[in-house]
Symmetry: C2
Subunit: 687 residues, 2 copies
């Protein structure tokens, strides 16, 4: 019960529901068709079916989520994860159904890393015996695990971790030990409170020699009563920004002995007794899972951007502010305030984000295809795709999560501070060096081939080499555009991105190889070149995706869409490409491809496409993301447009409103305002 009640009055006219209905009526394409183009009918039907189950389960209720402190949020998340596993067993959900349900509930929980990292690691690095012993009970949730790699003093640099696992031949055991405070395991999801097992990355030492980081699967809490096992200390690391429903934990070992079978031994192992080290056949084999994690982060970034864009765009169509004197809005005979979505500044903030969310969709899809293709190739000993996929996935993870973080924050601010917030963790700079390294290597090889006299363009079998080769054919090429409309041309857009990325690669390679600059002194340029390369990928996949020309996984037919939808989506892909150039034109200018006058034309083209093409379809574009209200959990961004009604209703659920007079009044307010405890409304009640 709340002491706060709102008046039984409607918002002033026009009503949000009417405004959104009008927006939807103006949409030039079929919203459902575009949703189906993105996700497929199967996905959309499954979403309906899962929702009907999930929305009726009290453990998945979101209505009090924003009001809870960390302790209560964690307790609720533990209950939620329990219910999710239980339900998935009862209803015999497939892995797809489980993932889709999890994404609808949309809250990280203490069992998340068990499924996301612990089990996949066991699956890829266990012997058959270990699969039986660890993975099978883990699938039944008898074993609940976590993935303990990061240490207090070591994050990105896995090779620097300090925890040791020393082989003891006498007892055929490994002894895990934490030699320094900095070697404490840190930031490990699920470790703080929930897990009873951990995959621990530790330096393997046998016969006095250090073989670097290896994975061991070890029990950490008693299966009887969940207490910590002797030799293990663990707990929660405390509150984290945007991730407080997970028990990210810390752990240290005091000469903790585990049996020989703990060392995950599919690729490398230690011979019992002799302690002889058996090295893995190919060090690259473990790269595959990293690509998977990064590729799936591109999808998560898209999801975050699309959710924020949905909320901010719907609210901007409802929220009205000031009267645009050049073109006032009318309601009957009255001038009313203009919806903020009609202001060009608001369009410039939000429409590129809608466009980016679509752009990331196509690339996320293609990264998953490439991951699976590469895994299949590697099984047959073909490593030809690995370097390209690894470089792209690293750069794209960095670029798209950075895009998402700033897009979500921009959407929040575009709602005047009313929107919920999401933050994406992790360092996005370190990782781009891998992309840079690959680009420089490709470029050097291409230059050498071209110089060898034995080169023909038909040898090029990779999109990176293709755009670099185009550049090398004519490094001083200029963009031919002389009008704003000329930029509505995918080939021209791709040429601009390709020329810019290539010229940056050429410059850096020159600085490294000829000027002998150090790698460290070039880190800023390397970060920028990774961004340039990945923006090209995003633009390219967006264009091909709309055309239905993206490569498809074997046996899958591309979805075909109507001309109206294709045209509308092409407006968005134009906006994405043009806005990406216009926002940071420096490198396009210094590459020589574009000139200052063209940047100005591009600005005109952007304002034009936003006003005439994207504005009428803005609500349609976000509706097509097909996020149910349950997923968005937003008062101001719900489908029905009743923003103010939902927002006020939400305030009545604030725990501070349970009582009319605040707890603490007697102690902290009355001593100032009524120190003598005088009675009578006359006191100063009415002046």
């Amino acid at each position: 019960m709340s002491a706060l009640r709102f008046p039984n009055l409607p918002p002033s006219e026009p009503q949000g529901a009417d405004l959104l209905a009008q927006e939807r009526a103006n949409t030039t394409f079929s919203i459902h068709e575009v949703s189906a183009f993105l996700y497929g009918e199967v996905y959309l039907e499954r979403q309906e079916r899962l929702l009907s189950v999930i929305e009726n389960e009290p453990a998945f209720d979101k209505s009090n989520r924003y009001f809870r402190g960390r302790t209560e949020r964690f307790a609720a998340a533990l209950r939620k994860d329990h219910a999710l596993v239980k339900l998935s067993k009862e209803l015999q959900w497939s892995p797809e159904e489980y993932l889709q349900a999890e994404s609808l509930i949309d809250e990280a929980g203490p069992f998340g890393l068990h499924r996301g990292m612990f089990m996949p690691t066991l699956a890829s690095q266990s012997t058959n015996e270990q699969l039986e012993k660890f993975l099978k009970p883990a699938q039944r949730y008898e074993i609940i695990g976590c993935y303990a790699q990061t240490e207090l003093g070591h994050g990105s640099n896995v090779q620097g971790i300090e925890t040791t696992a020393t082989y003891i031949p006498e007892t055929n055991q490994f002894e895990l030990h934490t030699p320094y405070l900095t070697a404490s395991k840190w930031w490990i999801g699920g470790l703080g409170k929930a897990a009873n097992h951990a995959v621990v990355m530790a330096r393997l030492i046998t016969n006095g020699k250090d073989y670097g980081p290896h994975a061991l699967c070890v029990p950490i809490r008693s299966m009887e009563d969940h207490t910590l096992l002797p030799g293990v200390m663990a707990g929660d690391i405390g509150p984290k920004f945007g991730y407080n429903t997970t028990d990210n934990g810390c752990m240290w070992f005091d000469h903790y002995r585990v049996p020989h079978i703990s060392l995950l031994a599919k690729y490398s192992s230690v011979k019992p007794g002799s302690g002889e080290y058996v090295k893995p056949p190919n060090a690259k084999l473990s790269y595959g899972t990293m690509v998977l994690v990064r590729a799936s982060l591109v999808g998560a970034a898209r999801q975050g951007m699309a959710k924020a864009a949905t909320i901010a765009t719907r609210y901007s169509a409802i929220r009205r502010q000031f009267v645009d004197k050049d073109s006032p809005k009318m309601l009957g005979k009255d001038v009313i305030e203009t919806p903020v979505l009609d202001y060009s500044m608001q369009q410039y903030r939000l429409f590129p984000i809608i466009a980016a969310a679509y752009a990331c969709f196509f690339t996320s899809k293609d990264m998953m295809r490439l991951y699976h293709l590469n895994m299949k190739n590697m099984e047959t000993g073909d490593f030809s795709l690995l370097a390209d996929v690894h470089a792209s996935s690293s750069g794209l993870k960095s670029l798209t999560t950075t895009m998402a973080a700033s897009a979500i924050e921009e959407c929040r601010r575009a709602c005047g501070g009313h929107a919920p917030n999401v933050t994406w963790e992790g360092d996005n700079y370190m990782i781009t060096q891998q992309t840079g390294r690959y680009l420089f290597k490709s470029f050097r090889e291409l230059v050498a081939k071209r110089a060898s006299g034995k080169f023909s363009a038909s040898q090029i079998n990779n999109p990176t080499l293709a755009y670099m080769n185009t550049y090398l054919e004519n490094p001083t090429l200029k963009c031919p555009a002389t009008s704003a409309s000329a930029f509505h041309n995918p080939e021209l857009q791709l040429a601009a991105f390709g020329h810019r990325a290539s010229s940056m690669v050429a410059q850096i390679v020159h600085a490294l190889d000829v000027e002998k600059r150090t790698w460290n002194s070039m880190l800023v340029d390397i970060y920028n070149v990774s961004v340039a390369h990945c923006q090209l990928i995003l633009v390219q996949n967006f264009i091909l995706g709309i055309r239905g020309e993206m490569p498809q996984p074997d046996g899958i037919q591309p979805t075909v869409i109507s001309a109206a939808s294709k045209e509308a989506l092409t407006d968005l892909s134009d906006l994405f490409a043009m806005h990406t150039i216009h926002k940071q034109p420096g490198e396009f200018l210094t590459s020589g491809y574009l000139d200052a006058k063209q940047i100005s034309l591009l600005g005109e083209a952007i304002m034009d496409v936003m006003e005439k093409k994207v504005r009428p379809n803005a609500i349609g574009f976000v509706d097509a993301f097909a996020f149910p209200d349950y997923l968005l959990n937003s008062a101001i961004g719900a489908f029905d447009g009743r923003a103010y009604e939902r927002y006020t209703e939400m305030a009545t659920r604030e725990p501070l409103n349970r009582t009319e007079v605040v707890e603490g009044y007697e102690q902290y307010i009355r001593p100032f305002t009524n120190p003598m405890g005088l009675k009578g409304h006359t006191l100063r009640a009415r002046i």
Copy 2:
């Protein structure tokens, strides 16, 4: 008591304290001298004195701040505000002392808006009778107030608010009423739970005519027992991002009558009985306080950036990761990991933020001087400064808080996710239109004057006209720089910023006046021109501030600093100017002043000044901000460099660690892991 204990082990070598000591020994200037240059000795001594009191008051303890949920945080903030008022009365603090103490405690509380908005509004808009009746008891905290302007449906556009205050001649009262749900007062700090009075902005209606928004001071809660008065409904709006210690509230009125004296009547009033409206002598008189609020936000933005920079820079000197193979670090004979502060990418992320925090300092100082000067002028009827000050403060509020928000977030990410977070609220786009409008008006007037034939440059008495005039003298001027070192030249930097801002103004004025483009279609350009103008102000004040050439308030002597400090600070101002250009070079290029080759040279100059000049002084620069550990409340950014020790100690205070086995184990984990409740460590304890 915590169930989590850490091993009695040091971090691995080298220790953070030793690394920071070495950094400080390498600093080329006196840290204390620069602190005193920024704040003055009086401020620094007062800080020491206040700290010794504050750190010993339990209500101001910060150690559990990050662990509390909203309800507990609000309770603690109420206790804190109570203790602060009580202490300030006992120790008879001056307003400066109170503000400085509040800034050390650094947490918004329920009484904050009473002091920040309620009392200042009363002070500036009350008659003498109202000062006695409202302001005096407010100063004693008998009246605790809030400022109720924003409504659920109306933020930036004050003219659009819907709450009415209708004069009732029969009883000589005003009747406050909420006609629509959208007219509910919303987002009002202190209203939710703490305030017993409110300044309410409502449309004044008398004799059937609507005179627009006016301020009334009205009681809302009983002085006897704090219950809501009949006709008033109020409560808290719920959790907010980064502001959960304040009871931002909502309120609606049901035909609520208040006496005639409630209407704050210094400038405009309603005659008792006849209800005749008396209009204010000059509508501009209320602008002064808005300038004050905006100018003080520039200071708050600087404070936020400086705090984040302090934490991130210290931690980056301690945090080591990977080995830089081109220049490996040694500890005795061992190669150790390189401190991340030595990587050029980390420098590119952090050093411009240090520079920006210094840049904002000088401008914040000058805005306060201009505010006071303008207030003094206005009292004598001189409004000549008002437009310039109002335009600059609007644009600077927008620019510097946006800079701060992204700088703080960048610092947080640069710590690998370990740093605390701050977000700045409010829309930063709307407000810049005021800056644009002023720039266009100034430009048009200047062009007209120059065309009149009666113009001489000596007539120019205002910095905005000065840079625009320089541009008009030669709109096709080119930057003469041909080497990286040429950019280490303040005059050249100022010329670049002035040319760029002027050429943008000229273009927009042309679009509006000649091409007849609509205001709405130009909003993006208007936002950008406000940024350009305000960046010029920041660069200019930074340069003049270091030189001791900033205009001073009457009777105040500029602080003089040693050559070493001046040189070090000039490195920072070079970096700020050069990095600001280099990060977004588009407009500098399209203005024609700089060319692509020069942007490249600028990049070299930046890398050079960061590596050779700023890196050795980085810790010195942030130490000179003089933030005590109590204020920072950061495990990883404390002065002593014991980052890992403090961080682990902090984790032991996490409430989830009070018990070893998590609450909920029996209900949500054991049913999976040990459903039969089997006993014995053999169960699966040791595999």
